[in-house]
Symmetry: C2
Subunit: 391 residues, 2 copies
């Protein structure tokens, strides 16, 4: 099936054109600086109803972007990163909802970020681009929300780092979202999570071709470091059992007694690492890992997560995956417990799964059924109020 066939198949949003949206309001950042303006790449799927009550915002994870569903051209080999979940009749049903996906500020897919030309110097910002927090992203996304004239999202949905943005939204803008769907996430990184991030950063920072973040000026990229960082990430995205099931752990042939690929998992990691270098910016990767490390909504509330959640008004759906060891179900239960302690309305689903953290991107029937059911009730509510999308 090629892109044209897939795009016209049942359930696809089809061909999509990304939009570049200029946010002209100043954006104050947690680091103390203010961005006078910034641009965000956005895709939308479905139709915003007249009451603007059927909008869902998708927050992306570490390496995600605005291209969440459909195809950007007839030549595309693969659809957007969450195509299995977004489309007509899919859990995020574009016949009922207006779905917005963006590339976050600091990203490398067209939104303002480290690789953007700094108008003051005529060169890419590089290391002069500010490090960001999840709070900064949410503030930027709130300005985007204004741009769309949306007073209140029907739901904000995100997995992993995206789930952190959802929680921060619910805390910082309680009246601007009705539902918060937090998938495979955590209320704060563990020391081990931070350790992985630190090694990924050191791999990039110590690459001689990083040039202090000004590699653009040298016509190179810190490919060795970025490749190592990505390989390391992949270890945390898969469970040990899934790696074994996918790749086995037997030699492909007799030992070579050199450093060529001898195990399937080595090919996989080298391929994943290399293909990431070709499509991702090293400064953005550093920025994303720091945003993860900094995320800790309890910090502003004397380390009491439930106090942070007392600020929220949304209904919550928290989803965890049994095989996820990056953000294990125990981390989701911390979120659920704090929400319950705060007296908030929360549903929790533990999905039996095999793959690991990456399962949040997979079309696991139980997972999609939970999302579908939850979002169906939301749609029924605004449709009953006469706010449906006119056919």
């Amino acid at each position: 099936m090629n892109a044209t066939e897939a795009a016209t198949a049942v359930g696809s949003v089809g061909l999509v054109t990304p939009q570049r949206i200029a946010i002209e309001q100043p954006l104050p950042l947690d680091c103390g600086r203010t961005l006078p303006r910034h641009e965000l790449m956005v895709e939308t799927y479905g139709t915003l109803n007249a009451q603007r009550s059927n909008a869902i915002l998708i927050c992306h994870a570490l390496s995600g972007d605005h291209h969440a569903a459909g195809f950007n051209s007839a030549d595309d080999r693969k659809p957007g990163w969450w195509d299995n979940c977004i489309g007509p009749g899919k859990p995020l049903d574009t016949e009922r909802f207006f779905v917005v996906a963006l590339n976050n500020l600091g990203g490398c897919r067209g939104s303002t970020g480290p690789a953007t030309i700094d108008p003051q110097t005529g060169k890419p910002y590089g290391p002069d681009f500010p490090l960001l927090t999840v709070r900064d992203w949410v503030r930027s996304q709130a300005l985007l929300t204004d741009h769309f004239g949306i007073a209140r999202w029907a739901a904000i949905v995100g997995g992993s780092l995206g789930g952190m943005q959802v929680m921060q939204w619910a805390i910082d803008f309680p009246d601007r979202l009705a539902n918060a769907v937090v998938i495979a996430s955590a209320p704060q990184l563990s020391a081990q999570n931070i350790a992985f991030n630190e090694i990924a950063r050191q791999a990039i920072l110590s690459d001689p071709e990083f040039h202090g973040g000004r590699f653009y000026d040298h016509g190179v990229v810190p490919s060795r470091g970025l490749k190592l960082a990505r390989m390391l990430g992949h270890i945390t995205y898969l469970s040990d059992a899934a790696m074994r099931a996918k790749f086995g752990n037997d030699l492909k042939a007799a030992p070579t007694f050199n450093f060529d690929v001898e195990f399937e998992v080595e090919s996989y990691l080298r391929y994943q690492g290399q293909s990431f270098v070709d499509r991702f910016d090293a400064n953005t990767y550093l920025l994303m890992t720091k945003a993860l490390d900094y995320f800790d909504p309890a910090r502003d509330f004397d380390d009491h997560l439930e106090a942070a959640f007392e600020r929220t008004a949304a209904r919550f759906l928290v989803i965890a995956f049994s095989s996820d060891w990056r953000f294990s179900p125990a981390r989701s239960r911390e979120i659920v417990k704090a929400l319950v302690d705060a007296g908030r309305d929360v549903s929790y689903a533990l999905i039996e799964s095999q793959l690991g953290h990456d399962d949040f991107l997979m079309p696991i029937p139980h997972y999609h059924d939970v999302m579908r059911g939850y979002l169906h009730r939301i749609a029924c509510a605004f449709e009953a109020a006469g706010d449906g999308v006119s056919a």
Copy 2:
């Protein structure tokens, strides 16, 4: 307490002088090459009895060496790496046993290895040094055994990669060891274990200062790569909970919005990485990780581990640690099951622990009691036969 005081305290083997032992017999290797001669650095503790029946061999793990107990000089700040377990009255009781520890072939502590001068070129072997297998080490250790005139070890003991050597000994030289003590080990690496090794190797191999393994000739070391490799190793040596207990996961101060150390675990990893660079050889590290990847005693027996173990004659003690996720208790149970299926005599102890894989180096009372009890019965047997060490 300084080294002199510590060395004279109860339980210490005191000052120890390492020996360099030349093995003049040719050593055929699994890669097909033969080393005409090699040298091994060795330390011994206690006294070999007249019947040579009280000898214990210690096989070291990835970064271990021959300096397992006591002090090499009065200025030493720290004793050998397993000092808490080896000494008078300790589990490996040097008043009853003669304990031998070596630096494996390919090591970087004085045994013949990649940093050794190749007599044919007058330069370090570097990448010309052969990659080795656990089988090669065991063959080398068997020649060392001949050197000591020991027909049969009372026990061979090792943790992690050391435990793999113990298993290989029992399979390849069944009549040359009475007891096999396999601690925190695995019958073969998992795909995830291999993935970690592959990333560590790529970090070293891709460091521009690696120079294809001939960095010695350039007066540099691939410090960035070796540092990353070691940091990564440390993630696998500690449990997530232990990392959190040791370092917490809160910022040390307000966010800096740069890449300075902001979390305790970052300081720890950077320190561990740097100190490793100062004391370890990058080619040895590569060689050790390949030996780990290659270890798979079942491979020669149609992937039937129990068939491999049918070759053994030793009694086995297998010890695992509850918090170890590098080589989890499930991996030890695979070993135990295969030994049971092979009809062998095996004791298994699961030690409740907190730290992770590193626990095999810790003086956990239950762990040391199990070892002490097991070795006590061995000593009682040869002492009852009149083979004790004369006072």
